[in-house]
């Protein structure tokens, strides 16, 4: 466990929680680290809870399955917190001391007093990132919200390099080998490709989303 960074991503089906995990895991491997990526979901349907887990380490990674004690938590939709649309309740359960939480939300969410004191006790730093609007404004599609979330994560932790992210994105969307996580994921990949007339545009737009979001989080000096 020592030296391992464990990330838990919670969101809703269709938001790209699984794809985000895949891309950041690939980027970590491109950076020369070890990574293990697990997606977890029930019957696949849009807006149903979906989670994915990424373990990154310079050492060998043995354990697998859901991350119970994350260093980093990404919340892809406010409903995960506000409506409990999640496998993990409360959303910060198991967060390690001094952990980082990035929430996709247009506005700051006011937590209940007990939640606030628990977060303070954990020494957690919580970042609210308007990932969906960044995706829309910078990338031209809400489908890039997952990239904005990864941008927020990189802004807060610099866990992978931007160069590796670009290579991982290219591998996933411009590679010659079609990626299949499931039939639904393949359909969504085709959907995002349709949003851009050229694959290079897809990569550059997504990188812009990533940078915009990273700068926003890093610039806040959190």
């Amino acid at each position: 466990m020592s030296g391992q960074t464990a990330i838990r991503m919670s969101g809703l089906g269709g938001q790209g929680v699984v794809t985000a995990a895949h891309i950041i895991g690939s980027a970590a491997v491109i950076d020369g680290k070890n990574a293990v990526v697990n997606p977890f979901f029930g019957a696949e349907k849009r807006l149903a809870p979906a989670e994915s887990y990424v373990r990154i380490s310079t050492e060998e990674i043995w354990d697998t399955g859901e991350v119970l004690y994350p260093n980093i938590i990404l919340i892809f939709h406010p409903d995960v917190i506000l409506k409990g649309k999640s496998y993990t309740m409360p959303f910060f359960s198991g967060l390690r001391k001094g952990g980082v939480i990035v929430v996709n939300s247009e506005r700051t969410i006011t937590f209940e007093p007990d939640e606030r004191s628990m977060l303070e006790e954990m020494g957690a730093s919580v970042h609210f990132v308007p990932a969906t609007s960044i995706a829309k404004n910078v990338g031209g599609t809400e489908l890039a919200a997952n990239m904005a979330m990864l941008g927020g994560l990189i802004g807060a932790s610099e866990i992978v390099s931007m160069a590796a992210m670009e290579e991982a994105l290219t591998e996933r969307f411009a590679g010659t080998k079609k990626f299949v996580a499931s039939g639904t994921t393949a359909a969504l990949d085709d959907q995002i490709r349709k949003q851009y007339d050229k694959t290079e545009k897809l990569i550059s737009s997504n990188m812009n989303v990533l940078r915009a979001s990273a700068e926003l989080v890093a610039g806040r000096g959190i």
Partner: protein, 385 residues
């Protein structure tokens, strides 16, 4: 057809001599990469999560020309019957299923062994209803222990890749010629992306030679085709008993004869870390990975703990387990199922089996936190009751 002409090579050459490339792929993709090089004649598919992606990707190989025939069966029972038919006809086959699909198809598995069919099948283990779950759980393995098939359990995608490729050469030996099941924990491996070393794309296994079959292959030119003879089907008498006794022992002996061929590829049925430690964690599949992390954590706390990874369940690794646990004072057996079938297996193999702590057990889909295994290592919690 594949872009390059694939050079047929022996299993030994393919697994040991060929250049390998490290890729970051899921377990399902590792199945595709193994089958790409396995020179399979027919694959039959039926979807069930978390197996579906594997046979979907095998279907892609058919579209790319790596497999001679591929279709979706009517259900799992049909798939396993169709696979049996193809194997009886003397071609190399592959299929996969899991959980409820395994149970639906169950009648076929002992029939495969009894018919001496060299089928390679992968089980991406999943929980069995009810309550409904699509998540990882190894309960079906306990149910398959006495079907006569050889059973290998992969810890990760690398094991899965290598075990599928080696299985054809074990199953297809004249002296063996029984099915091999390659088991892997659904989701924990199938949907997990990890580093896997795969061999170059320009090779494939040598084809299956049906003339090496110890029983006649099905041949429509020489009817009637039978693998059972009428007298002992219909009568309750000594001949019926004797036929079953001799034939079933022959099938069991075939599994025993597979030992050196399995060892040739896997080295040994079990692998042990820190064999002199008084506490030993014994596991197979994903539970090994969780156990490795638990052992690392326990050692950091100054505890002396070892790890026994079981790679082969059938033929049973009796001698290997007895040797590995000869000096153990406490034996911890973490399992991803409710029944604790691995603990029962181990208990039947070793003397003084009150040394066993038959747990922890997690099932229905949750992961097993290494912290929970550490609690059992320390003896802080009661398990297996």
């Amino acid at each position: 057809m594949p872009d390059v002409e694939l050079k047929p090579v022996s299993t030994e050459h393919l697994l040991r001599e060929c250049q390998r490339e490290e890729v970051f792929i899921t377990g399902s993709e590792a199945v595709r990469e193994a089958i790409r090089r396995a020179n399979v004649d027919i694959a039959v598919a039926y979807p069930i999560t978390p197996q579906s992606e594997s046979m979907h990707l095998v279907g892609d190989l058919y579209a790319e020309g790596y497999i001679r025939d591929y279709f979706r069966g009517e259900n799992e029972f049909a798939v396993m019957s169709e696979i049996a038919g193809a194997a009886m006809a003397g071609v190399r086959v592959f299929t996969a299923t899991c959980g409820p699909g395994t149970l639906r198809a169950f009648e076929n598995f002992p029939m495969w062994s009894g018919t001496r069919l060299p089928i390679v099948i992968s089980f991406m283990t999943r929980g069995i209803n009810s309550p409904l779950t699509i998540q990882p759980d190894t309960i079906e393995m306990g149910m398959l222990l006495d079907t006569g098939m050889i059973m290998l359990h992969a810890e990760n995608a690398q094991d899965l890749y290598d075990m599928i490729l080696m299985s054809f050469s074990v199953a297809e030996r004249t002296s063996v010629h029984i099915p091999v099941g390659v088991f892997v924990d659904g989701f924990f491996v199938t949907h997990t992306r990890q580093k896997v070393k795969i061999v170059s794309e320009d090779v494939k296994l040598l084809p299956y030679d049906p003339t090496h079959s110890p029983v006649p292959t099905m041949d429509m030119e020489t009817p009637p085709f039978r693998y059972m003879r009428d007298p002992f089907v219909m009568k309750s008498n000594y001949i019926s008993y004797a036929a079953h006794a001799s034939w079933q022992q022959e099938v069991m002996a075939a599994a025993e004869r597979a030992r050196p061929h399995i060892e040739a590829h896997l080295g040994s049925f079990v692998e042990q870390e820190n064999p002199d430690a008084p506490i030993q964690v014994v596991a197979c599949g994903t539970a090994v990975s969780q156990g490795r992390e638990a052992v690392r954590m326990a050692r950091e706390e100054g505890l002396e703990v070892g790890l026994v990874k079981i790679k082969v369940l059938r033929p049973a690794p009796r001698e290997e387990i007895r040797r590995a646990l000869a000096k153990a004072e406490r034996i911890v057996i973490p399992e991803f199922n409710r029944t604790g079938w691995l603990a029962r297996e181990i208990a039947s193999m070793i003397p003084n089996n009150d040394r066993i702590a038959a747990g922890p057990r997690v099932f229905g889909g949750m992961t097993m936190p290494p912290e929970v295994i550490v609690d059992v290592i320390k003896g802080d919690v009661l398990v297996g009751v």
